[in-house]
Point group: C2
């Protein structure tokens, strides 16, 4: 096991009607002038925004609002948010939405106390030294941003998708009420589930040996997703299944199932160019990319893929031909994704094979290589896009 | 899933030689005048204490020391520690040892700013309102106290063992270096492993339905312990196995595998009277009590015990007779404990069947009942002690 630090100081408040206490938690965590940052009109229409405002008012907290966060959140709205926060002396950001909304909030949080352009931190590794505190009320189980220090933002000019990570961006509290996800359409629910599973797989495929405890914890989350996702697709009102998925989504990405080992994250990087270029859902892009990535790299460690097949997909081990088992596991993953309504190739996603050179160019490796489970060259990335483009069940 | 709050703000620093950074972490978390609290002379003899002092000195931190914590830590040393901290204006406690040492440190931490007797908080549910901050350097993987808000202390007068819990008692940081556990004798290693497994089982046996994600996470930790414990008993120097056990021990008790569901904790309560009366190791007491408790309660939910047998102990499911599977799982657990050198009945533990009335009296139920998976009366507790007294493989 590699040396590691694990620090997840977020207070999670989980369960029915918990959003009605948001005022108390803002107060507890030091906020007095709040920006409510949210996405689509559904927070308005459902009455959620009114409940949030009522709770803040009850706690005597001043607030301003900024809605309009889009999936694949844009830099342009973040600039607007930074300006608003400075003008209104905001000292706490309350993010009401899914991963895009929280990621946008994190962009604002680090931008407000910074003299330069907030974009300086994205994709550069420049360390964050200061940020406004954030709280979240999660409405989509997917990104894990409610418990992580990561933020992914798209620069509108050129549709460049880049990320930043810092413990200072971990939310002070996150309110998770599975009821809020019950109105989510099946497609978005499935996109979220795919994202959660991908967060685990990015950690599962490691070159660090004998990390038994994190291997088993990863499998625990994946088994949960495999059982619960079809249940919510079939019955969107199933609170228990929604609750299991929501908590799995948080645990999947606060890094407790990834510490002490090398991780991969190439599928996420390769996908980001798809959702950057086509503005498709991140989870849908992952459904197309991740099995293709698996097919490209599995020979690097056939027994790890065989373990996935047996322990996660309940395949029988083929002891005479472990490679056959490994490939069967990958096929099970793709079939599962197809079963919950995800696209499995470029055509189903709305991407074009002829754009692959553009995607590879934007990925920006040049003559270099990525890190991860298998180090990839530009040509490798192109091949993964080609496998993804033409995948079939 | 029940509503819950999960808050684990402890910073974990895991890996080789990490204790040499303790000064930095004390400083980061606000300490300037430190009490180093430790247990046996082994911290002195091994040079650990010198390394800790050197790191504090390097960070310019003043310290005083108080050693001598015993297993089943006593109130008497805590009174001494409280007085020392007040006299020396200590603002941070650095606990160097296992669960007993950390629990003793928590007693001191809550006692220093409190006007009355620190014992007022133990076993009474009186809420903790203030406590000194604590950091830990863990030397035994067992109690999980390094990531929990719990403390168990024994009042020397009458050997009463009682507990307290509060988020204010969660350590600010915990340094976990598996190397420090490599010198631990096999018996103590096995006691620690048993305690870790018990912490998971106390959460696994729940009356809350459909808590898929926490069920799977519990099983992940138990599978890890079943694989790794025999490896360290056989080869105490196995760093990787020690590392997996150490991290599993922390995750097992910071409640991430127990949230959102009813828990049991009767085995812990019933055991506390054994280690209170005989001053035996807590883990050894649990090895005797927990399988006996399982045999007493399994009919309450045969399928949950069958699940344990199949998923944790790799038993074949007997579909015609699930009860047989359930009992086989319990037998596997006892056999496993025996295999790692744990006692399995009163004689092996050094307890006496004729003391059962005394144990039940000290347990203090009177005509009442416990909570938990199955509510127990005094007579039920006596019967569990009797099963434990006479258990065989």
């Amino acid at each position: 096991m590699d040396n590691f630090n694990f620090y997840s100081p977020t207070e999670f408040i989980f369960g029915k009607e918990t959003e009605n206490s948001c005022g108390e938690y803002v107060k507890k965590h030091g906020g007095s002038r709040v920006l409510i940052h949210y996405g689509s009109g559904s927070a308005e229409r459902s009455g959620l925004l009114d409940r949030v405002k009522a709770s803040l008012e009850k706690s005597g907290i001043y607030y301003v609002v900024l809605g309009g966060v889009k999936p694949n959140p844009r830099d342009t709205l973040i600039y607007e948010g930074i300006e608003l926060c400075r003008r209104e002396n905001v000292d706490f950001i309350l993010s009401v939405g899914g991963g895009s909304c929280i990621d946008s909030s994190k962009g604002i949080a680090l931008g407000v106390p910074y003299d330069g352009d907030f974009w300086d931190f994205y994709g550069t590794g420049k360390p964050v030294e200061k940020a406004l505190p954030i709280g979240t009320i999660l409405t989509i189980a997917a990104a894990g941003s409610e418990g992580s220090g990561a933020s992914v933002v798209t620069k509108e000019e050129g549709m460049l998708k880049r990320d930043v990570g810092s413990d200072l961006l971990r939310p002070r509290f996150s309110i998770l009420n599975p009821e809020l996800t019950q109105t989510l359409p099946a497609y978005q629910t499935a996109c979220g589930a795919t994202d959660i599973m991908a967060h685990v797989f990015e950690r599962y495929f490691t070159n660090t040996n004998e990390v038994e405890v994190t291997d088993r914890l990863c499998e625990a989350l994946l088994l949960t997703m495999i059982k619960e996702t079809p249940r919510v697709i079939k019955n969107p009102d199933n609170y228990e299944a929604r609750a299991n998925i929501m908590w799995a989504g948080t645990v999947a990405h606060n890094d407790i199932v990834g510490v002490g080992r090398s991780q991969d994250w190439n599928s996420h990087g390769i996908e980001h160019e798809l959702s950057g270029l086509y503005d498709c859902a991140h989870g849908a892009g992952l459904a197309v990319i991740m099995p293709a990535w698996m097919e490209f790299v599995y020979k690097h460690n056939i027994m790890r893929f065989a373990q996935m097949a047996v322990r996660i997909w309940s395949c029988e081990m083929n002891f005479e031909n472990p490679e056959e088992t490994a490939l069967r596991g990958i096929a099970c993953f793709r079939k599962f994704l197809h079963g919950i309504g995800m696209p499995i190739n470029f055509a189903e996603l709305g991407a074009r094979e002829e754009d692959i050179p553009v995607l590879v160019e934007k990925f920006g490796l040049g003559d270099g290589k990525t890190g991860g489970f298998v180090a990839l060259s530009s040509e490798d990335v192109a091949e993964i896009y080609r496998i993804a483009a033409n995948a079939a069940l």
